[in-house]
């Protein structure tokens, strides 16, 4: 009985993932006005602000900021904002709330791994955000052809995309982990706000990591946010090569393994502690 279980349970998990994905997709598109505000508007303001900041810093055409001239910075900011959109973020997972309010208890009596349902959320996020980004890119490159980033080569684009996907999965695991802390802490929201701030900084969303001081940039190259946003951006523009890409894949895979192990540990511990609050 238990020997046949693994393959069939993986098949079941996959099927369930498909169903959860469809369900998440329906949910996110149900509220149309909210969808436009959330997904389109919110991604625009930060790169716009940073473009004005850099305009103010780089007054002359020859002025450089960490090796970037102004048009290169604009291209980089657009890329970084696009990739950051593909990254899973804290708002996408209301797990901490579910833990606080005791809603996870229902999954404990069901023959399902909660993580599979959460993965459905991740898949939905990727699908929706990819479409949004694709849409923004079509519109943007038509409206601002002279500013829009130009890809160095097809393989550069592919490599960048692989890094972003892996990075997004790391971000998802990270979110899950922070949320799971709700089993112990009541300050998860503060923590996750902090985490997302640190994350965007380390990812180079505001300032390219290669434009940061050497020692800091060196340290950030061991972190997954850098490989999820900043590095793919530079790969895309042809500022990094295949060697760097391979290094990025290794770093990200190591992070996936580490985060996954930690996630399993914390989830198991947390459940044991869980009291299925109230009622």
């Amino acid at each position: 009985m238990s020997t046949a279980a693994p393959s069939s349970s993986i098949a079941r998990d996959l099927r369930l993932l498909g169903v959860a994905f469809a369900y998440e997709l329906r949910k996110v598109t149900a509220w149309r006005a909210g969808f436009v505000v959330r997904e389109l508007m919110r991604s625009l303001w930060r790169p716009l602000v940073m473009i004005f900041v850099y305009r103010a810093i780089l007054v002359t055409p020859e002025a450089r900021f960490g090796g970037f001239d102004f048009p290169a910075l604009v291209a980089y900011l657009i890329l970084a904002a696009s990739f950051e959109k593909l990254l899973f973020h804290q708002r996408g997972l209301d797990l901490a709330d579910q833990i606080f309010q005791g809603y996870v208890t229902k999954y404990l009596t069901m023959p399902v791994r909660f993580f599979v349902l959460a993965l459905g959320r991740f898949a939905q996020h990727l699908a929706v955000q990819s479409s949004v980004v694709a849409f923004l890119w079509v519109v943007g490159s038509l409206l601002f052809p002279q500013w829009w980033p130009r890809v160095a080569s097809a393989s550069a684009a592919l490599q960048a995309f692989v890094l972003v996907l892996l990075g997004s999965y790391c971000a998802f695991l990270m979110c899950f982990l922070v949320n799971v802390l709700a089993f112990w802490l009541e300050v998860v929201w503060t923590l996750s706000a902090m985490a997302s701030f640190v994350f965007s900084f380390a990812a180079g969303v505001l300032v390219p990591v290669s434009a940061m001081p050497q020692s800091l940039a060196g340290a950030l190259r061991w972190m997954f946010p850098y490989w999820a946003v900043s590095a793919p951006g530079e790969l895309f523009l042809g500022r990094l090569g295949t060697q760097e890409f391979l290094r990025g894949v290794c770093v990200l895979l190591a992070w996936v393994v580490a985060l996954e192990l930690l996630r399993q540990l914390l989830w198991r511990r947390g459940l044991r502690r869980h009291i299925g609050a109230g009622v």
Partner: protein
């Protein structure tokens, strides 16, 4: 595994599905101090207190039983369900289900149980009920044809067929609860826990739900454990009653036996005119010759328990003492019997 063995025309000795042995559950909480200073004290020196929600529970539930679990607020009913269903581990003793430790249930065990909590939706809040059911169908791997059939049948019986497409958040409390119940039975579980499923529902919905539960328990032999503060729920559905008080089992037995105990007594409820003299402790000795007891005294309502043969003499006595607007004589209602159990045990302890 022992199979169900029939040993009589209506009594079957069936396999034990749920077993608690000396089960206890303690919750550890810390006392929050107030104010700004308290905030810092909280950070460094927490004052822990332990609450014993359950203590030394011995319980055996067999296949096909319909068990009512009652007790005051905070008696430990929900905690007991959580321990048995594996939501939370027991802190002492053991809780087992399907012969397996409750907190280590595997998927094939979980497939055989389901849980409905009156206050916590088991379905997905922002989906139409039908979508939730489809997700449940995947989770429990129910064949499509069985699923459609069961869904149609139970939706008809609970009269919610035309609401399946509506988002759960837009349904009324009663409609939502019916959906929860449909969801709980879709995968034909062997054991169903219902924690206050009728809370806040109107009379008709309650009736409908009770009838549905009784029928499904009879037809499929599903084991049902129900908690409720509504004695009518218990009376009309359960065959066995477990009363909890402060985390301990106060009573465990058949509902019929329980009622038989007071079969030779009657409950007399008296409604007084506003001008009537009220109840006075001085009347207490006057009850003794009748063998009567005062069960409850509200300003304008009195409830007595009287031996059946004494009723004929007791009623004129009441009319002599009070200005009576209305009076009824009945068998003891369940809530009165239960109150008596509480009083007896308290007196004995």
């Amino acid at each position: 595994m022992d199979r169900a063995v029939s040993t009589g025309h209506n009594r079957a000795v069936s396999e034990v599905l749920i077993e608690m042995r000396g089960a206890g559950k303690r919750f550890r909480t810390w006392k929050r101090r107030e104010g700004f200073g308290g905030f810092f004290v909280n950070l460094f020196a927490r004052e822990w207190t332990e609450v014993a929600a359950l203590e030394g529970i011995e319980l055996e539930i067999r296949r096909g039983e319909f068990l009512g679990l009652i007790g005051a607020n905070g008696a430990g009913k929900t905690t007991l369900l959580k321990c048995v269903s594996g939501i939370t581990p027991v802190s002492s003793g053991s809780a087992r289900m399907f012969g397996c430790d409750s907190f280590a249930l595997r998927d094939e065990h979980k497939r055989r149980l389901s849980m409905v909590m009156g206050q916590r939706s088991q379905l997905w809040w922002d989906l139409p009920a039908i979508d939730s059911f489809r997700l449940l169908r995947e989770i429990y791997s129910v064949p499509r044809s069985d699923f459609e059939l069961r869904l149609r049948e139970s939706a008809e019986r609970l009269q919610v067929t035309d609401m399946l497409q509506r988002q759960l958040r837009n349904l009324s409390l009663g409609e939502r609860m019916k959906m929860e119940i449909i969801g709980a039975f879709l995968h034909e579980p062997d054991v169903v826990f219902l924690d206050e499923p009728t809370i806040g529902l109107d009379l008709v919905s309650r009736e409908t739900i009770r009838r549905y539960l009784v029928e499904i328990n009879r037809a499929r032999g599903v084991t049902i454990v129900l908690t409720s503060h509504d004695m009518e729920d218990i009376e009309e559905t359960c065959r066995r009653l477990v009363i909890l008080r402060q985390g301990r089992v106060l009573f465990d037995g058949g509902l019929v036996d329980l009622k038989a105990r007071t079969y030779e007594r009657r409950a007399i409820e008296v409604h007084l005119e506003p001008s009537s003299p009220g109840w006075d402790a001085a009347f207490e000795p006057l009850l003794e010759p009748f063998g009567a007891r005062l069960e409850r005294a509200a300003p304008l309502t009195l409830l007595f328990s009287v031996p059946a043969p004494a009723v004929q003499r007791f009623v004129p006595f009441l009319f002599e003492r009070f200005a009576i607007r209305d009076l009824s004589i009945e068998h003891h209602p369940l809530d009165m019997i239960i109150r008596q159990i509480f009083q007896q045990r308290e007196g004995g302890a």
